[in-house]
Amino acid sequence: MLKLRGGIAAIAFICLSGSGHAADPLAVGRQMLAEDNPGDLWVLRGEKLFHEKRGPKQASLEKCDFGLGPGKVEGAYAQLPRYFSDTDKVQDLESRLLTCMVELQGFKREDIVKNRFGNLDRMSDMEALVSFIGSKSNGLKMSVSLSQQKEYDMYKAGEYIFYRRNGPLDFSCATCHTENGKRIRLQDLPNMTDPRQMQAVVATAWPAYRGTQSTVRTMQHRLFDCNWQMRLPDLGYASDMSVALTTYLNRSGNGGVIDLPGVRR
């Protein structure tokens, strides 16, 4: 093979499997992103962080119980949020990771919360761990179940909040997310009262790699970001309100086959 100098002289081909969609100019790009998602690098990082002995207690997260028993990560994401008897709360994945990072590893809650969302200068451990644990449910169906009273309460509270109008723009989640074929500028909006659309949503988000953010974003970030656009204050990380909404929305997407992390703009 000849040495090729000066710029990228190698032939960088776009591999098109199946027919190209001439009508949709973005189809090729979407397919490439689906096949090679930068989010996969967060999965690798998350796996490393999961097994690494960290924190003042120098412990790994291998004994963390995500609802299926200590250390069982396969299928854990698919059944979250759920009730945990040790904390007597309904918790989503990030809330549960907070519990384990504090209890098992000795981290301070405030320190984790401060770095929950990565930025251009610093990566977030949470985003990596969520990517890893989320990916361990790939191929399984979202199956949020309600059996404990607090799970029923959480679901109904989430539904109530979904329709709750507030803020200087009178927005609720329902304002933007209860009709088909709607978009804000050029951003399509899923109709969250349609189970089929919800199944498609929960299948590949959240976590998902967001191109505009150059990092994987999680469900907590999505809710935080919506709150920001609704002109409300910073949504409390892993707050009951955020877990309630997540319970309501994930359950609406029950049956969706998980394939995480996804890719978004």
Binding site: M1, A10, F13, E35, L120
Partner: protein, 106 residues
């Protein structure tokens, strides 16, 4: 820095379709921090891809390449089991090498 890459190489006939995901800030030197000071350039300067030890790609990159770059290339004359190795070096002297074996077409 120097976070691991994700590389996959799948055989199509006698051509290995190689896809590489890299983690790198690729700072352009145009961004300002909270204090208003320029964040210095920090980018991958060279990428070398070898096939069974022989260099097949020797690229010189600039800060114009995006953050968390993706590189795809096709290597002729490949067989299942061949070694594809990728090494990047950045302007601070940081280096990262990852290797993968060419997988047979599924």
């Amino acid at each position: 820095m120097a976070e691991p890459m994700k590389i996959r190489a799948t055989l199509q006939g006698d051509v290995a379709d190689v896809r590489i995901l890299m983690l790198h800030p690729m700072e352009t030197g145009q961004r300002k921090d909270a204090k208003g000071e320029i964040i210095p350039v920090h980018f991958i300067q060279s990428v070398i891809v070898t096939h069974n030890g022989k260099t097949v790609l020797d690229a010189q990159w600039s800060q114009a390449i995006s953050r968390n770059p993706f590189l795809g290339l096709r290597v002729k004359g490949a067989k299942a089991g061949d070694k594809i190795s990728v090494t990047w070096t950045d302007n601070k002297g940081d280096k990262r090498t990852d290797e993968v074996t060419v997988a047979a077409a599924s």
